[in-house]
Amino acid sequence: MLLPIALTLLTSFKREADVLRKPPVLLPCDAPDGSWGIQHCRFVLEGYERVLIPKPAPGSLLGFELTGRMFSTYVPNTFLYAFSSAALVFILAGLAGYAFSRYRFRGRRLLLVAILAITGIPLLTNLLALYQMAVDLRKANIPGYDERMFMVLVYVGFQLPFAVWVVKSFFDTIPRELEEAAFIDGCTPLCALRRIVVPLATPGLMAAFLLCFVNVWNEFIAGFLLLTRREVRTAMFGMYDFLSQNIINYQVIAAACVLVAAPVVILFLFTRRVFFEAMTEGAVKG
């Protein structure tokens, strides 16, 4: 399972000369005289350097700055989109999930099923309209408008339906008696949500947050089509761009893959339990 990842890691630490050997070598560990040994291995950070392009900058915190576009622009952008959409999804799904879990109102079932059905509509088929909206919004010249806002809104719109379901099913597991006790003590419903339900449903809300974060981090096509300025583009666009630039520099591509995938992989490894629970829960129910 992990072989392709391992091979990519390996490639990312090779020198350009070793990447371009015919036939390809798995480990660059042979001496010029043909003997093979671990002491001859040549692993370098050249690939990573060429992604990051660190330049000395005396004023900054670490003593150098990363000037490669990937890490000076694209990855911070992606982080911004992923974090702000996840935070918004967290809040909106929390509110909506509470309404669905605790109140019985007219049209509740219909709305729930409609929201579930929406999870099946892919971003792709809505992109024509969203593209047109993005163009119109740019033309409208609204003061203070930034295409990044629209991008976050789009991501929220696509991550929200599933998150509402995950959060609702977690809220359902919390006994209502706890809130009723709070009501008797004079708590309003919103206060009960904040003080009782949210603390108890933290795993569910975290799952909604993390799933949204990872999905937005990995999203490509919407960012590719809806954003026009280079300064606001995403890391996945950067990866796509790398592909067209570095036709020969495979070690650079491999290093970029490793660097861009690493944050979510590490996040996943630390929070795996939340992921497993939420995904099986959500998927089995719909």
Binding site: I5, P24, F105, G120, V154, N218, I221, L269, K285
Partner: protein
């Protein structure tokens, strides 16, 4: 702040309290409003817009209503028919490979391997890697001459007559005219890469289902002399069938709409050998800028998606009733 006491009747008549009361009575609406607004703008409106767009022709700058002409033109075009073929081949391959492999891994994990949490998580890493990156990773492995798999692929004894070059080999002559089977090497590779990424999630689903199979049933079947295969096909598979159907629909939804891998691995090529419907939508809509036809295709795909998700819902409700 003082603790809130229950309102007295005198307080309740004040204006502010009336508003507060109204607010509390209609609270579900206020809680749902932000979500509904976002969904209306990002999901509902674009859906309606696509339908309207699919009935119009806007290429000349003016808007002309053309009825179902866009649909006719897209359904009649050769590339659409070819793409449907590619999509069918891709879906069948993708679903089969992923299901069989996931089931094997899930059975293995369920049976004896007591893997620690970290190892299990490592196994699941492909799941959180972006499809664009998966495409790049798999692409690097098969670069002609330099890719690490190329010595195997270009070996003429393994792949007669002169080895295999995944990025450029054209598809073989189809068995049935007009249907792209057997697929091009690039398509097979695309299927393998997609399955690799989908495998962890489906495995997890099936594993969760396998855990619910009561061990007494398995035991009693074994005592009655059921062999391993019999046990699998007669007892275990029927019991986890609902989950398998959910997994199947899940895979089909992901497979129809997945575009990132096509983008970074093959870009529809070589030629049009991996031009699936999702990629065709991109090329018509955003490269050739024929919005009307693209919208017709988008509506077509959205209908398929909705049908799939509604079927999934039905099946999983059956699941809930039986358990």
């Amino acid at each position: 702040m003082a603790t809130q006491l229950p309102l007295t009747s005198a307080q309740r008549t004040t204006f502010a309290n009336r508003i507060a009361e109204r607010f509390n009575q209609t609270l579900p609406l206020w809680l749902l409003l932000p979500t509904l607004l976002v969904l209306a703008v990002i999901q509902f409106y674009p859906g309606i817009y696509s339908i309207i767009l699919s009935l119009q022709d806007r290429r000349a700058g003016a808007v002309e209503w053309v009825g179902f002409r866009n649909f006719e033109r897209i359904f009649e075009s050769a590339i659409f028919r070819e793409s449907v073929g590619h999509t069918v081949v891709f879906l069948v391959g993708y679903v089969l490979v992923t299901m069989v492999a996931s089931l094997a891994v899930a059975l293995l994990l369920n049976q004896r391997l007591r893997l620690g949490g970290v190892y299990l998580a490592l196994l699941f890493i492909p799941w959180v890697i972006a499809d664009i990156i998966v495409g790049l990773i798999f692409g690097l492995l098969v670069v002609p001459e330099y890719g690490l798999l190329s010595p195997i692929l270009s070996n003429p004894t393994l792949f007669p007559p002169k080895g295999l070059s995944i990025p450029s080999d054209p598809p073989p002559k189809p068995w049935i005219a007009g249907f792209p089977f057997p697929p091009a090497p690039a398509m097979v590779y695309l299927i393998l890469a997609s399955s690799w990424r989908a495998l962890p999630f489906i495995t997890l689903l099936l594993l969760a289902a396998l855990k619910t199979v009561p061990s007494e049933i398995v035991e009693s079947a074994r005592i009655d002399g059921a062999g391993r295969l019999q046990l699998l096909f007669r007892i275990i598979l029927p019991l986890i069938l609902p989950t398998m159907v959910v997994a199947l629909f899940n895979l089909m939804l992901g497979g129809i709409n997945g575009i990132g891998l096509v983008f970074s691995l093959t870009r529809g090529g070589p030629g049009t050998a991996t031009e699936v419907l999702s990629y065709l939508l991109y090329t018509i809509g955003f490269q050739r800028l024929e919005f009307g036809r693209a919208a017709a295709l988008a509506v077509f795909m959205a209908v398929i998606n909705l049908a799939l998700i509604l079927l999934t819902l039905r099946v999983s409700r059956v699941d809930e009733r039986t358990t």
